[in-house]
């Protein structure tokens, strides 16, 4: 699984960071930053939850 975020769209709601703290972090301005773009194990499920919880659909995943 590969993770990507649309930073332009992010409103800083923090849902992804709460759902998958190892994968998503904050950049200097408080918006989202991907810390690790290839989650494995439990983190994969957490990322899928983050996709659902992001209020503006800014979290994207793809196979690979």
């Amino acid at each position: 699984m590969r993770v990507r975020v649309l930073r332009e769209r992010c409103i800083g709601a923090g849902q992804c960071m709460r759902a998958a703290p190892e994968i998503f972090g904050s950049d200097e301005s408080g918006g989202v930053r991907v810390e690790s773009d290839a989650p494995v194990g439990d983190s994969e499920a957490e990322v899928l939850l983050a996709v659902q919880l992001c209020p503006v659909q800014a979290v994207l995943v793809a196979d690979g």
Binding site: G12, M17, S26, G30, V56
Partner: protein, 406 residues
């Protein structure tokens, strides 16, 4: 010809009042079962749509064909729409792209990281407020904890100078006290507005990057935006959206936990459970319901077998979505162990609550400080209806008498 909404022969009239502190209006259950979109008659018989289920609520709150701008014809609150100067900075009532500008410039103030940085100040504030409790083991948690705590956190967040805090407290207090009084409220609002107007003016003449208002004033110097009226509007919106909600969740959540002592004991024994418990309390109480989710369709939208026409008003029933059995098992049961994260207590889409990160910290810090500082906390007397704000647009408590062993 006759556009009065009907279901069978029964006109659904809206709004509906809550009848119990722990549940949405009882009729929601039947509406939710009936259809994902129910036609109803709002005040003065205006027909509009109620969105009843979790799935539809998520979809519609992300749908750019729904507008939140009350100046549009057909918006449920069109009669109360602010125009001109009164509207400046009220981004809760703006659509993208106008709306996005404000969220962008506020991310650094309300993001997840900022909320974590604020935690020590929020903890200190909670303890300060609790230190002022009398030693006699009795208090009103609404007046003596919920409001002073949430107001002081907001003061700190915005950067209200210490020497003004007494006046600021008086203004917000007056506004809270007259919240349910349509004669006094405009005066109280004006007084607060005038104070914020002068506070922002001072910051503009002398911007300091130590405070939120100062940083926005510095941005105005650099870029010309947000202009004075918009900056005042933003600050006013943050204040009004941010302290009453937190105060109400603090008292209602505490009341719920006291009624479920086994769950309270679990979370106190294992504080790592607080974040999960708080999501469930937010879901369960859903204090911001349809009032927060006022929209109007700008184009035709299909919902199930119904079609919302352009220009028709919509209320998303957040409190109904949060009790939808399709989304939450046994939805009417409070269960602090469940995963309630898909709740809509903070909304969804581009308007999802900007204060959510900070509100979660305030709630965790507030509940923990309260139960730690007041051993043997119990409800002092049977709470009658006058303790609850059934008539209010945001559900809450007006009084919450408690006792503990001092």
């Amino acid at each position: 010809m006759n556009d009065t909404p009907r279901s069978g022969d029964e006109t659904v009239r809206f709004p509906m009042a809550r009848t119990c502190p722990f549940h949405p209006p009882p009729a929601y259950e039947e509406l939710r079962r009936r259809s994902p979109a129910v036609r109803a008659a709002y005040v003065e018989d205006t027909p509009l749509w109620l969105i009843t289920r979790h799935r539809g609520a998520l979809q519609l709150l992300c749908d750019s064909r729904l507008s939140t701008d009350p100046r549009r014809v057909g918006h449920p609150f069109a009669a109360m729409a602010a125009h001109g100067r009164q509207r400046a900075g009220q981004f809760i009532d703006m659509d993208p792209p106008e709306h996005d500008y404000y969220r962008k410039i506020l991310i650094s103030e309300f993001g997840y990281r900022r909320a974590r940085e604020l935690r020590p100040v929020i903890e200190r504030t909670a303890h300060e407020v609790l230190d002022e409790f009398a030693a006699d083991g009795a208090a009103d948690l609404v007046g003596q904890f919920g409001y002073p705590f949430s107001t002081r956190v907001i003061c700190h967040l915005l950067g209200v100078p210490a020497e003004d805090s007494a006046y600021f407290h008086d203004c917000t207090r007056e506004m809270i006290d007259s919240f349910y009084d349509s004669e006094k409220l405009p005066l109280a609002r004006q007084k607060l507005f005038d104070y914020l107007d002068s506070l922002v003016g001072r910051s503009e003449r002398n911007p300091s990057t130590d405070t939120l208002i100062g940083r926005l004033a510095a941005r105005q110097r650099r870029t010309g935006r947000p202009d004075h009226d918009s900056l005042v509007g933003v600050v006013f919106l943050l204040l009004t959206a941010g302290h009453q909600t937190v105060a109400n969740m603090l008292s209602l959540g505490t009341y719920s936990l006291l009624r479920h002592p086994e769950q309270l004991a679990r979370v106190r024994a294992d504080p790592g459970l607080w974040p999960t418990a708080i999501e469930e309390l937010l879901r369960f109480h859903s204090i911001v319901d349809w009032v927060g989710f006022d929209r109007v369709a700008t184009e035709e939208i299909a919902v199930g077998e119904h079609t919302i026409a352009a220009g028709e008003g919509v209320f998303v029933l957040g409190a109904s979505a949060n009790r939808d059995p399709e989304a939450f098992l046994d939805p009417d049961v409070l269960d602090i162990h469940r995963d309630a994260r898909r709740h809509l207590a903070f909304g969804f889409g581009v308007h999802q609550c900007i204060g959510g990160n900070i509100a979660r910290v305030e709630l965790e810090v507030g509940y923990r400080a309260l139960f730690d500082a007041l051993p043997g906390l119990t409800v002092a007397a049977e709470l009658d209806d006058s303790c609850f704000r059934y008539e209010a647009r945001t559900f809450g408590m007006s009084r919450f008498p408690v006792r503990w062993q001092p």
